[in-house]
């Protein structure tokens, strides 16, 4: 399938940032173009500290052309590939301005709620309360990611739900998709999206809430259908 071709075309070392998209369909770039590395810290490391792999990658980068950095990526501390992926998924009809403002309001809401809790808490608990909204976002996403997924396989006329391992990209995508659909569908009509999202993220951060429940349901289904695992041929 397309994913295998993409992986065969160019391997990405484990040291790159998490949200790296591989070109599956045709793209305007020649396949020899490599992905750009935007973070300043990776260029300030002295030569001795690099591992074998990184040295080879550096040599390769000196010879190959590099793609242009997309408009959502920048070297400033405020640009985060995960956050931009989430904003793109929240975006409707190309309205990036609205999606970005919703995202920033969500992060502000999380910060406010956490600060409230921080100021109300007694002295010994103050250190355990996490106030950084980025940390909360990443941890919540991590908690929502399923480990194993189900896929429909038709055998002998009947369609079975077979447990299947998921790639990193797929896990991240499912976690983000569940969060967004949960906020859009199952909440009261009049509440604003930032409020709903911040509530969901805080619950997911503490391993509670409907998204985590959905993940556990999926895991239980996979466990129940363990018998069909041998139907998978890839």
């Amino acid at each position: 399938p397309c994913r295998d071709t993409a992986r065969a075309l160019g391997s990405s070392p484990a040291s790159l940032a998490p949200c790296r998209i591989m070109p599956v369909r045709w793209s305007r770039y020649n396949p020899s173009y490599l992905e750009p590395e935007v973070k300043k810290e990776s260029y300030q490391k002295p030569l001795e500290e690099l591992t074998e792999e990184e040295r080879e990658l550096m040599e390769l980068k000196a010879v190959r052309p590099i793609k242009a950095a997309p408009p959502t990526l920048s070297s400033s501390v405020f640009s985060d590939p995960m956050i931009s992926k989430f904003t793109n998924m929240m975006m409707k009809s190309g309205n990036k301005v609205l999606a970005r403002s919703l995202m920033s309001q969500t992060l502000e809401n999380i910060k406010r709620k956490q600060l409230e809790k921080y100021h109300k808490a007694p002295e010994n608990e103050k250190e355990t309360i996490e106030c950084n909204p980025y940390v909360i976002f990443h941890q919540a996403l991590k908690n929502c990611q399923p480990i194993i997924g189900l896929s429909n396989i038709t055998k002998g006329g009947k369609t079975y739900q077979v447990p299947v391992p998921l790639t990193d990209n797929r896990k991240r995508f499912l976690a983000m998709k569940w969060l967004i659909t949960e906020c859009r569908d199952n909440k009261h009509r009049r509440t604003m999206m930032p409020e709903k999202l911040s509530q969901e993220l805080l619950l997911a951060f503490n391993n509670e809430g409907p998204v985590i429940k959905r993940k556990h349901v999926l895991h239980k289904m996979a466990e129940a259908n363990r018998a069909y695992a041998h139907f998978r041929w890839w």
Partner: protein, 350 residues
């Protein structure tokens, strides 16, 4: 399997020689060459020039003078060129007069490809035998790593030209895998010459671009210009030294011109990457495109202008961060029979 998916590179030329069956015998081509040389001498005599020093350009000029043609298609006009250029390098007929083919692999259909694979595998076996000998004598195996970054394998089209025969994607990928296996063995230095036939040097990217020196204006302040394009927007930026970090676009401040945070972040990206945020003043002009395209064009222009202020190493870092590449992505065209570039019409059952 490795499939070449990208369809937009200019390297996809058709190899006319490899397609189609063999058409010309060796003797035929030789006769054509003799006739061409004779005709060249006659033409030189006709034009009153020296037959010995009659070059191809002179032939073209003479033909254009003697046979003026108003045809639009360049390839339909009268032509006199050396037969090697007119008849594409095709394989001469591969069998003798009794009908018996010359090559022992002729009936496989891809004789040059299979003979190449056999040769390469023979080299691989040689290397393995040498390795076994070294192990038997308890000598250390050479571990000099070949620098893979500076060279690339032949492309499929170049291989086709070399073999004068059509090579399919599958065959090509198998050949490359075999070569990689050969190179991966420790004692592959023995067959270095054979491997070099199939690898090409890739020059270091940075050497291709010329960085302009700084210019100085009337007040003595150093400045440099850069141009950038993105989708339909084109921008020119002038970056001045000893500044306060102000950026002016088409006469207005960026805060008024770009109300969206993302665009302003893009404008500041080159400065933030180099750590020179408060040090330069920029004056830009931009036209065309939308808001994000204009921001991308200005970003490219400022990055190009900043190259003159910065060391070569930092220019290389900028290139690796993707700041100096022109973004080739444009709006995809709409296709007939579809509603948009990818979206098909609603499928109706009847």
């Amino acid at each position: 399997t490795l499939r070449l998916i990208c369809t937009t590179t200019p390297v996809q030329r058709k190899n006319a020689g490899a397609s189609g069956p063999e058409k010309y015998t060796d003797a035929f081509i030789k006769k054509q060459i003799e006739e061409f040389n004779l005709g060249k001498r006659h033409l030189a005599n006709m034009m009153g020039e020296d037959p010995e020093t009659f070059t191809q350009e002179d032939i073209d000029r003479a033909i254009a003078y003697l046979f003026p043609s108003g045809l639009f298609d360049e390839q339909a006009r009268p032509l006199m060129k050396h037969p090697n250029e007119v008849f594409p390098e095709q394989r001469k007929i591969q069998w003798g007069e009794d009908g018996r083919p010359f090559h022992f692999l002729f009936y496989t259909g891809k004789q040059s490809y299979y003979s190449l694979m056999h040769e390469t595998y023979e080299k691989l076996l040689n290397v393995q035998k040498h390795q076994d000998q070294l192990i038997a004598q308890d000598l250390p195996l050479q571990k000099e790593k070949r620098n893979l970054a500076g060279s690339r394998w032949l492309t499929k089209i170049e291989l086709e030209e070399m073999l004068v025969e059509k090579v399919s994607d599958d065959d090509y990928s198998r050949f490359i895998q075999l070569l990689q296996k050969l190179v991966a063995l420790p004692c592959a230095d023995i067959e270095e010459k054979y491997i070099q036939k199939f690898s090409k040097e890739v020059p270091v990217q940075l050497q291709k671009v010329v960085i302009e020196p700084l210019q100085y204006d009337e007040r003595g302040v150093a400045f440099s210009t850069g141009e950038g394009k993105r989708k339909t927007a084109s921008a020119t930026a002038v970056v001045y030294d000893n500044g306060t970090g102000k950026i002016t676009v088409n006469g207005t401040d960026i805060l008024h011109y770009f109300p969206v945070l993302q665009d302003r972040e893009q404008l500041l990206f080159p400065f933030q990457f180099l750590g020179r945020i408060g040090k330069h003043d920029t004056v830009c002009t931009v036209s065309g495109g939308g808001r994000s395209a204009q921001a991308g064009a200005i970003r490219l222009a400022t990055a190009k202008a900043l190259r003159s202020f910065v060391t070569e190493k930092e220019v290389e870092f900028m290139r690796q961060a993707g700041l100096l590449t022109v973004d080739p992505r444009v709006k995809e065209r709409k296709k007939p029979g579809q509603e948009g570039p990818r979206r098909k019409f609603t499928w109706k059952k009847r």
